[in-house]
Amino acid sequence: MISTDTATVLRARGLRRDYGAGEALVRAVDDVSLDVAAGETVAVMGPSGCGKSTLLHLLGGLDRFTAGEVWLAGRNIAGLGERALARLRRDTVGFVFQAFHLMDELTAVENVELPALLAGRSPRAARRRATELLERVGLADRARFLPAALSGGQRQRVAVARALVSEPQIVLADEPTGNLDSDATADVLRLFDSLHGAGQTLVIVTHDARIAATADRLITMRDGSFVDETRLTGGTTGSLGALAGLEG
């Protein structure tokens, strides 16, 4: 039995997810182990179909694994029933998806406050928190807009604000810049960078190198398994000047 210390927000051991059976068996996630420390940003990169989205769903308790174990905020989720798992998810995880998943008929601020209301916060407290978060993502002036009136980048920033409303211990993001053009990507990049700076724990699965490059640690995934892992912090081989082609 592996003990979980408080500094590890997310821990997975021997995680596996099979689809189908017999000849048609697909092992989407194959023996993956992972520790994410508090305050750390981890990026998982890999070609489409490598299992990284499935992995994120398993880590966040959105999908059940075939074998292995996951501890979320110190709790082993394998033994939890649906309701207990949903509660743990609501209290500890914020999700950000490629397609934003905002409610079209709710305004930006209503989208952001919704999880807080569902968690039983008072309407006033939920609205206050949602307003603060919209300000933090630079959309205070768009609070009463419907998603349809927002650009893709703005919608994703609303989705990030919503992910943060319950003060989650960890944010799990699935291709957060996958639907965005270059300028909108830069906005989301800046936002993730500031979350990271504020000590938010983040796991990002992506094939966008720019968002992956905001991470402390990069994991490469192929055919359902981790094949490479590296720290991105500290230790480029050259200075910035060398990147620009200037002699040192």
């Binding site: 070609p47 190198a209 991105l232 910035l240 060398a242 002699e247």
Partner: protein, 175 residues
């Protein structure tokens, strides 16, 4: 740094060496940290010898290099004009990396995918550094524009590595 860069910075008006350094620093932002301040004076010395600039001592001041005011000669002017219209662009050297993968696989020396992974690690570290520097710049500063170019190039290289990964994964599974 090419001599023509210093020459072109001098085209605005006769300048002291430290003024040229200042213009470079402003254009390069954090990238300029890699620049050796003495370099500008070395280049100015060479340009003077080549007859592309002349210098005069500012009156009544001791003989120190930063007291000199440099001026473009007619020949220097011409060199700058030629340089501005010259179409040169650095060629990315992808061939060596490509052949590394081919040779490693052919001789069974190393797994091409492991070589791709190692290269990706390095490029992502560079991307991280360049991107952080870019986020720290004011929008529209000269240095932000240069950093954007560096970021875009790294992205292009990383996309090519993805293509390498796809191809070599395919070849490996056929073996």
């Amino acid at each position: 740094m090419r001599q023509e860069v210093v020459l072109a910075l001098l085209a605005k008006e006769p300048s002291h060496g430290y003024e040229l350094r200042g213009r470079l620093r402003q254009a390069l932002g954090p990238l300029g940290d890699a620049m050796n301040d003495g370099q500008v004076y070395v280049i100015l010395g060479r340009l003077e010898k080549a007859g592309l600039v002349t210098s005069e001592q500012a009156a009544g001041l001791p003989d120190r290099p930063d007291r000199k005011v440099y001026v473009l000669t007619a020949e220097g002017q011409e060199r700058v004009s030629d340089w501005l219209v010259e179409v040169s662009w650095p060629r990315p050297d992808l061939t060596e990396f490509h052949l590394k993968l081919v040779a490693a696989a052919a001789a069974g020396l190393a797994d091409p995918l492991a070589i791709v992974d190692a290269q990706r690690r390095e490029l992502l570290r560079r991307l991280r550094d360049a991107q952080r520097a870019a986020l720290g710049e004011r929008d529209g500063s000269a240095a932000a524009l240069l950093l954007e170019g560096i970021v875009l190039r790294l992205q292009a290289d990383l996309r090519w590595l993805e293509a390498c990964e796809r191809t070599w994964t395919g070849r490996r599974s056929k073996r």
